[in-house]
Amino acid sequence: MEQIWQIAYIFAALSIIGSIKWLSSPATARRGVMAGQIGMLFAVVGTLLRHEVVDYEFILISIFIGAAIGAPLAYLMPMTAVPQLTALSHAFGSLAAALVGTAEYYRLTPTGFTMTALVIETVLGYLTFTASIMAFGKLQELVPTRPITYKGQNFVNIALLLFAVSLGLWMIVEPTPSWVFPTFTGLSLLFGVLLIIPIGGGDMPTVIALLNSYAGAACAAMGFALSNRLLIIAGALNAASGFILSVIMCKAMNRSFLNVLFGAFGQVQEGAIAAMSTKPVHSATAEEAAAIMSGARKIIVVPGYGMAVAQAQHKLRELTDALTKRGVEVRFAIHPVAGRMPGHMNVLLAEADIPYDKMHEMEEINPDFAEADVALVIGANDVVNPAARHDTLSPIFGMPILDVDKAHTVMVIKRSMSPGFAGIDNELYYMDRTLMLFGDAKSFVADIVKELPAHS
């Protein structure tokens, strides 16, 4: 039974494909995770059984160390930190791919086809490693979340990339002096950092999806370098997944895919904060808001990143319960780029025990805003800015938005009048039908809940 690992690999590939298939619906999703774990077990055990592998001791110790670090990471991180954790996970996975590529390079110093695969593997691995660390830093706010730009940035980045690519080509064509591979490695690491620096926090959903795709591509490239088809299948699935998610994110922001693929190149200046408008707004107290809400029949809540920051989802659940008891229909409208990663809002609402059949996608719920008595915007800004529909000069022009301005009354919970991620003013706030609820999202929602019983 020398070839037992081959059979294990085939089962691993099947389980991994099944895993993503089952994830398509919430009903079977947990089975998907189970299938993925079984697939991974087949892959690891199968590999340990390969006759090339003779030295077990250090491998088992390494697996133990990895598990001892990974498990607390997954259990101790709060749900609002899922984007950070995902970025960190990407960093580890792509580092692994890059290190394997490096080891293979020094073992074989190949040229030609194998080297092509190794070049792709290492460049993507190292750049995804540093880019993910930077993304983690930005999400955790260890690094400034505003885009950092400087004169000639595009030129520097493109020059670096061209230099790295030419070193890569050189290594593919012929054996090179000993400085070439380390330089190539350094450039890849540096490029990952430079790639993330000009990207703002609100663009993170796209960037994380893209890094996911890069990690998958690095894995597939490793499969080519090692002639390992299991790696090719798993890597290709992962690359496809990240790619689709980033395309969805791009569409939801009306940006071209190339625009994001090459970082923030040529993108509108997002750091610019528009002059504050002096137009009057209507503000309201929690008591007034509660009065309107308890008299409403249909309410649509629009959560955004601000809800995550304020950790307001649990209070929101209390409000939903209280209103539902009074016969008010409460639903949630989720914009594809709300939050810091695709589907971020859904996870937070689910954490607060809000059933997922109350969460609706943009296309699905937009026609219903016209019939809603109240649209309650919590911590969302650009995704509800009507300027995206008609103001051709606006940086977000053409971006699909949630039509909250069509609701009978619009309520916006916001700390102050400061602009959102795109740095532009939001005309929604100045409409006659809009009530601004100034304050911290969590405590304001709690206040509304407190004011509600008086009206029942």
């Binding site: 691993a12 494909i17 993503i20 398509s24 998907g32 995770v33 993925g36 991974m40 892959a43 590999t47 340990l48 390969r50 090339e52 592998v53 003779v54 030295d55 250090f58 491998i59 110790i61 390494s62 697996i63 990895g66 598990a67 990974g70 498990a71 997954a74 259990y75 749900m79 899922v82 954790l85 995902t86 996970s89 996975g93 580092l95 692994a96 791919a97 290190l99 073992r107 998958g216 080519f224 002639s227 299991l230 090719i232 798993a234 290709a236 992962n238 496809a240 997944s241 689709i244 969805i248 989720i334 594809p336 990663m341 589907g343 859904n346 689910a350 025990d353 059933p355 997922y356 996608e361």
Partner: protein, 96 residues
């Protein structure tokens, strides 16, 4: 082109459209778990790491790089799967 490479390319050109198909069917509701699950799956690079670290006659450099790679990819596997499951546990349909 070697037979090995030909085979690998066939696998790639079949796996990419399969992945695109599968992922397009995932509801936006589950995009975060999808990402963390595929993230865990991409750590299948642990296979390459084990082969590098444990191969007969591996150099010291290979062993060190390989073991660090095994640690890193295991972190990714374990945290990826656990957080995915933790998230999915929270999704439920009806109100009580």
């Amino acid at each position: 082109m070697t037979a090995e490479l030909e085979m690998s390319l066939y696998v790639l050109i079949l796996a990419v459209p399969l992945g695109l198909q599968l992922v397009q069917r995932v509801s936006p509701l589950l995009h975060t778990p999808l990402m963390s699950l595929t993230n865990a799956i991409s750590a299948i690079s642990v296979v390459g790491a084990i082969l590098v670290a444990g191969a007969a006659g591996a150099s010291k450099l290979s062993q060190v790089l390989g073991c660090v790679a095994v640690v890193a990819s295991t972190i990714n596997i374990v945290s990826g799967f656990l957080i995915t499951d933790r998230m999915l546990k929270m999704f439920r349909k009806k109100d009580k």
